[in-house]
Symmetry: C2
Subunit: 278 residues, 2 copies
């Protein structure tokens, strides 16, 4: 029932990845598994779960140090909420990624440990991409993925936190629609869409951390070193959701309250309720 | 280079969809195009861009009424930002979907018109699902998709705004990871991941509004009437980003300022800068 035409996009999980340990040669392990799977075709995209990248890079820490690890990965706290199971901390981490617990993960890790995200997932993707292009002699792209929650919608989706050898966006601004009008605001985050696609075949509970995506070679580039997943992070001055609503409200309340009290001390007109300078 | 194994997920665009007009029998048109494409297999998922659903349902309005249309679709304004090109309004619409301009769209519509989202995309998906199951005699799922921006990350991804005949989430809570530990917080939003996947083959500028996804039949249900895409909308009491940061800050400032002034009128201790009741 498969269709052997050029316009079909496909993804499948690659088995045979053993439990990865600190110092393992991930590129060699991934290449060996892909070799047994049938190798790579020109334009393929190799998608690896960040977890195995982190493990190879020795990013495991003791579970007892989890809170300290989250704190050290955190650049900025975005939102915090207490609930019956504990506290959810949504933070921006070193990589600019906004994620619960800074991406520190306790599932599929050895007992008593938690796992941090790779130090530089774009660099990890470039190393893997270089090695796979050398080994298989074809032009391939690489994505390193993580599972992220999102505001407004339930559930998580996989997204690209590292990328090499491929475009991470498909910038359609300036192209025209079927009526010949310019598409002004459409920039498809294709790396995230491909990461989501690959998640559907890798499967979290199956523990398959590697997938091959075929048929999307239009996104694969000649160069390995092109803008990576870091470029998918929204610039802070364009981010309308820099802070959780409760946190922003509380900060505003404190500032407004202090301003109201200052007006009191200054002996202004008690009847006015306008902000200073208004 | 395609692999004819059970574990491969595939997607391809289906051509032959004409320009859709108000009152067109969308199910008949979609079924005819799929028929020419080779029909459906048991477990296939049919993904349609909401645009053609809206057009068939007559959801076009005059472009001059665009602002009024956005207002009438809006339940709640989440964030507003002025920029050189105009104003971006992020709003929650009737469907609970948080989107720029309430999902009102001006691309790929007839000159002088804009398009609203379908009245009830889950109902639209159910009608299409019923018709396709009748016509092809197989168990299929249907997704109706739209292109959404997201906080924190650049670019847009496609998401499911209507669904029928399939699970929209893969709830892994309570299952175990490879170490036998419970996966406590993983609920994969598979409908959104499949919508993203299908976007990669439909392509916005190509104007192909229909795709078939094969190989993910584990998400397709016996029943057509199962919880739809509406269930992907996060409940307001679980949503930490109900308001834009600037809007929440301004609301907090106004409340804090008024409280500060009230304390002044009440003649409280001028040295205190604590909020009332603290």
């Amino acid at each position: 029932m498969t269709r052997d035409t050029r316009a079909v996009a496909q993804a499948w999980a690659v088995g045979g990845i053993p439990e990865i340990e600190t110092g393992d040669d991930l590129a060699e392990i991934v290449a060996a598994a892909i070799d047994l799977d049938g190798g790579l075709a020109d334009g393929d995209i190799v998608v690896v779960t960040s977890k195995i990248v982190s493990k190879a890079e020795g990013r495991l820490v003791n579970a007892s140090d989890r809170e300290d690890a989250i704190t050290s990965e955190t650049v900025r706290v975005v939102a915090t909420r207490r609930h019956p199971g504990g506290v959810t901390r949504i933070v921006e981490n070193r990589l600019g990624i906004v994620a619960a617990a800074a991406g520190v993960d306790a599932s599929n890790t050895p007992e008593g440990t938690v796992l941090l995200l790779p130090v530089d997932p774009d660099a990890s993707a470039r190393r893997l991409c270089d090695a796979l292009r050398d080994r298989f002699g074809v032009r391939v792209g690489v994505l390193v993925t993580d599972t992220l929650g999102r505001p407004w919608r339930t559930g998580q989706t996989d997204a690209a936190i590292g990328a090499a050898g491929m475009h991470v966006v498909d910038d359609l601004r300036g192209t025209t629609d079927s009526q010949g009008r310019r598409l002004d605001v459409t920039v498809s985050a294709v790396a995230d869409e491909i990461a989501a696609f690959a998640d559907l075949v890798k499967g979290k509970s199956a523990g398959l951390p590697l997938a091959i995506v075929r048929g999307l070679d239009r996104f694969v580039t000649e160069e390995v070193r092109v803008p990576g997943a870091r470029s998918l992070v929204r610039a802070s001055d364009e981010d309308m959701f820099r802070l959780g609503s409760a946190e922003a409200h509380a900060a505003g309340y404190a500032e407004g309250h202090a301003a109201g009290l200052r007006e009191r001390v200054a002996g202004g007109d008690p009847g006015s309720d306008e902000a200073p300078g208004v």
